[in-house]
């Protein structure tokens, strides 16, 4: 590694102040600090520091995303082969999906990181690590059939308007990855809902099986919730949907990693699930008895399994920048996300995927929730006297 260090040291002066490529210093610095944790020492204040930094934090989230990613890749292949009535081995399914998903990931990272670097160079601030996670979250929330140029557009949109115009990672008020998805959802609705969830690229000598339906669960759910796949299938993720969100089980593994490592807020995850369950139960109680197919009758725990609920609760709602920041605020924030998701799903057939919208809505309200909590805290402090 001394060799790499020497190369970096030899080109470094070009990027320093007064060097030929002075402007590109943030880009060089990003590469250098990616390869080497800098030998920077504490200046004033504490003399020792916790080993965790933002790179490690983001890396941990990526590790937590791996189960959903691997399962998603497998499921893409599985759904594809299912549609053609083919028997395929585990590895066949996985490689097929991997081949389809990888380009989306590559495009997402390339486009988003490109914007980050350009911005850093123009504004002269260091490249932040936030996009390491966003870049993977975006593909996982999209259907596998999404055109690559749309992925690029969404990545650029969310980095630019979701983050950089506010000052970069840590300054944004809405979850960038969800912003990318919601952008595509409203800009290109035909590519984001309907018959899009399974990769139907032709297989030689095969035809799509009769009676195959590409309608998503959440659309089926609004018409007749009895038509949903079994709870078991929805839990494990043997269903159609966006690449990373189908398996609640994989999301729960991710949740475990996030909670154990202390990177994700367990309060937010637990309260999201609790909010959805409570609202589900409430609606069960109020459901019209004479309409047995009404969505209000859906067993409350189905909301945990359907659609992107688990994925959103574990990976999106927990984003520390856009969630509520106070302890009590996190509980309120999570409960409202869960409850609001169920309300949206049950009463508004136009937007079946309530999770995305309710997280974004609560992102906007998070500062208000915090404000109320802080005001309460101040009142309590005053009464202490």
């Amino acid at each position: 590694m001394k060799f790499l260090q020497r190369i970096l040291a030899s080109v470094k002066p070009n990027f320093e102040k007064g060097g030929r490529f002075e402007k590109f210093h943030p880009a060089f610095e990003a590469l250098e600090t990616f390869l080497f944790v800098p030998g920077q020492t504490t200046a004033h204040g504490v003399h020792v520091r916790d080993a965790m930094d933002l790179k490690r934090t983001m890396m941990t989230v990526i590790i937590a995303l791996v189960p959903t990613l691997l399962f998603g890749m497998w499921n893409v292949g599985y759904q594809h082969h299912l549609a053609y009535g083919m028997d395929a081995s585990l590895m066949d399914n996985f490689w097929f999906g991997c081949w389809k998903v990888l380009p989306i990931i590559v495009v997402s990272y390339a486009a988003g990181l490109g914007v980050e670097f350009v911005f850093s160079i123009l504004r002269g601030h260091p490249v932040s690590e936030g996009y390491l996670v966003t870049g993977l979250l975006i593909p996982l929330t999209l259907p596998v059939t999404v055109p690559l140029w749309m992925v690029a557009l969404a990545a650029i949109f969310c980095t630019l308007l979701g983050k950089e115009i506010f000052g970069g990672t840590g300054m944004n008020f809405m979850n960038p990855a969800l912003l990318a998805r919601v952008f595509l959802f409203f800009a290109f609705p035909a590519y984001m809902s309907g018959d899009i969830w399974t990769d139907l690229s032709p297989e030689a000598g095969q035809a799509i099986v009769d009676g195959y339906s590409g309608a998503t669960n959440l659309v089926a759910f609004d018409a007749n919730y009895h038509a949903l796949p079994s709870a078991g299938d929805m839990f494990w993720g043997f269903e159609q949907g966006s690449i990373g969100e189908t398996s609640t089980a994989a999301c729960l593994i991710g949740a475990l990693i996030l909670i154990l490592s202390g990177v994700g807020s367990w309060q937010v995850i637990v309260s999201c699930f609790a909010g959805a369950l409570l609202m589900g139960l409430l609606l069960n109680g109020m459901a019209p008895a004479d309409v047995p197919n009404h969505a209000m009758h859906t067993p409350a725990y189905y909301h945990w399994l359907m659609g992107g609920f688990a994925f959103g609760a574990v990976y999106m709602a927990t984003d520390p920048v856009t969630a509520a920041q106070t302890e009590r605020g996190k509980w309120i924030y999570g409960l409202l996300i869960g409850a609001f998701t169920v309300v949206l799903r049950v009463f508004n057939p136009a937007y079946p995927e309530g999770m995305m919208l309710s997280i974004l809505l609560l992102n906007v309200f998070a500062p208000l929730i915090d404000h109320i909590v802080v005001e309460q805290h101040i009142k309590k402090r005053l009464n202490r006297a």
């Binding site: 020492t41 020792v48 916790d50 965790m52 930094d53 807020s265 520390p320 101040i378």
Partner: protein, 454 residues
């Protein structure tokens, strides 16, 4: 009985190199120095000139703003030079101490319990011992004109590698007792002590606390910062706007005790030499103002070290050529961490300390670490929430308070509790911060701002 309080939020950083409980006296160096910079917001005016013979206990400089605050010489000898920096700012006053015997300015020996508050206060001011009494808020030398709500002494230090204060005061139990009696008079009976409850401080002989009403002896258990006097005040009688609480370190109580029992200003301190770079960490007795190299000398076992006066969280960066400050109780020496590490953020990190479990070191919770001064990453915008709350055992929202300070919003700072905090209470917040934000610096700025503008 006083209150028994369990501190839940906090963290004990386990480091290599804690001091063995043996104490040896160090010989006096050929020069000692008094540095005005040791005393916060002190505007020095020098009272002595080079070549002048002075006694131990004779004032060397005083504060222009508060002329009755003076800093006295810990030794007798000849003033060697007044070292000045930019704009003739006084950096040091150097004194060549007498070799054989120290000649003291003598004060009458008295039982502090029998002295009136006014006389006692005057004696402390005259002898220069006053500067050991500090006030909260702001952490400055106390203003003799104030009548404090109470005086607090935290009898244990919970910081990393901290000296056992029970062992330190155990060297001179009578002086400690006399010092506490003096503070009792000064506080009009409102002297509060914070003791370690769990595990009980075996080094502290509690018979020295005779004379302190039991309801003023409070016991604290739990991790650092349980020993911080600010945390203890917060849990026992929080400071409101306009109130002043004085705090004294146990080691400084000894100095006060000596003044009354021996009639002399003796600035001897028991210093714990600690840290992973020290060959045999133990306690040494030396004089405030003595050279650090007297202490570290040949006792270090590595070359590339950082010498810190104080602990790794709140101490000041020092060097072998520096002089021991009047408030130092501990000198920590740890390795400098200026070596880049290849893909360090990606490795499993079995030997990396983190409060989060993002490194696998959490599998070995009892590991003792040899931390260096590396920042482990660069400063970023604030991202991770809830981290500071986990290590600040106060009813305070740290992030919101810090934001109020950055916004210079005085009303908000007051509402969120700025008067109750000091830099040291936020040191762990700074330690855990993923974004590597310099939290203590922000707190210091906030306290400074509100003191001048509020």
């Amino acid at each position: 009985m006083g209150k028994s309080i369990r501190i839940r939020r906090g963290y004990d950083i386990r480091l290599e190199g804690s001091a063995e409980k043996t104490s040896s006296a160090l010989p006096l160096s050929d020069v000692i120095a008094l540095k005005p910079s040791d005393f916060p917001s002190f505007l020095p005016k020098v009272l002595v000139s080079p070549g002048e013979e002075i006694l131990a206990g004779q004032p060397v400089f005083f504060d222009k703003d508060r002329p009755n605050l003076r800093i006295c010489s810990p030794v007798s000898g000849e003033v060697a030079e007044v070292v000045r920096g930019e704009k003739r700012q006084i950096l040091e006053v150097r004194i060549i101490p007498d070799r054989e015997t120290t000649r003291y300015l003598e004060f009458p020996k008295q039982d502090p319990a029998g002295v009136s508050r006014g006389d006692l206060l005057q004696r402390l001011l005259d002898s220069g011992v006053w500067n050991y009494i500090r006030q909260r808020p702001y952490g400055l030398i106390a203003d003799p004109a104030d009548v404090p709500k109470s005086i607090f002494v935290s009898c244990f230090d919970s910081a990393p590698l901290a000296p056992s204060l029970g062992f330190v005061v155990g060297q001179e139990p009578e002086n400690f007792q006399a010092g506490l009696q003096a503070l009792q008079v000064l506080a009009n009976g409102q002297l509060h002590l914070g003791l370690r409850a769990d595990p009980a401080d075996a080094d502290l002989d509690e018979s020295v606390l005779r004379g302190i009403p039991p309801e003023h002896i409070h016991r604290f258990s739990g991790p650092h910062p349980a020993g911080n006097v600010g945390i203890q005040i917060h849990h026992i009688s929080p400071i409101q706007k306009g109130e002043v609480v004085w705090v004294v370190h146990p080691q400084d109580v000894l100095v006060i005790g000596r003044l009354f029992r021996e009639g002399r200003y003796r600035a001897q301190r028991t210093i714990a030499l600690t840290g992973s770079c020290v060959a045999r960490p133990q306690y040494f007795q030396m004089l405030a103002g003595q050279r650090i190299s007297d202490l570290t000398g040949a006792r270090l076992q590595a070359d590339h070290c950082r010498i810190i006066q104080g602990n790794v969280l709140t101490g000041n960066r020092s060097s072998a050529d520096d002089f021991l400050s009047f408030y130092t109780n501990q000198v920590t020496v740890i390795p400098e961490g200026d070596q880049p590490e290849f893909l360090g953020w990606l490795l499993p990190g079995f030997k990396k300390l983190s409060l989060s479990r993002t490194y696998f070191s959490w599998l070995a919770p009892n590991r003792v670490y040899r931390l260096d001064t590396n920042t482990h990453g660069e400063e970023r915008a604030f991202v991770m929430t809830g981290q500071y709350d986990k290590v600040l055992p106060m009813d305070i929202f740290p992030v919101h308070l810090l934001k109020a300070i950055l916004a210079r919003d005085i009303e908000r700072m007051e509402q969120l509790g700025i008067y109750e905090i000091a830099e040291e209470d936020f040191a762990l917040c700074e330690f855990v911060c993923t974004s590597k934000i310099e939290v203590q610096k922000i707190v210091a700025e906030g306290l400074d701002y509100i003191r001048k503008e509020g």
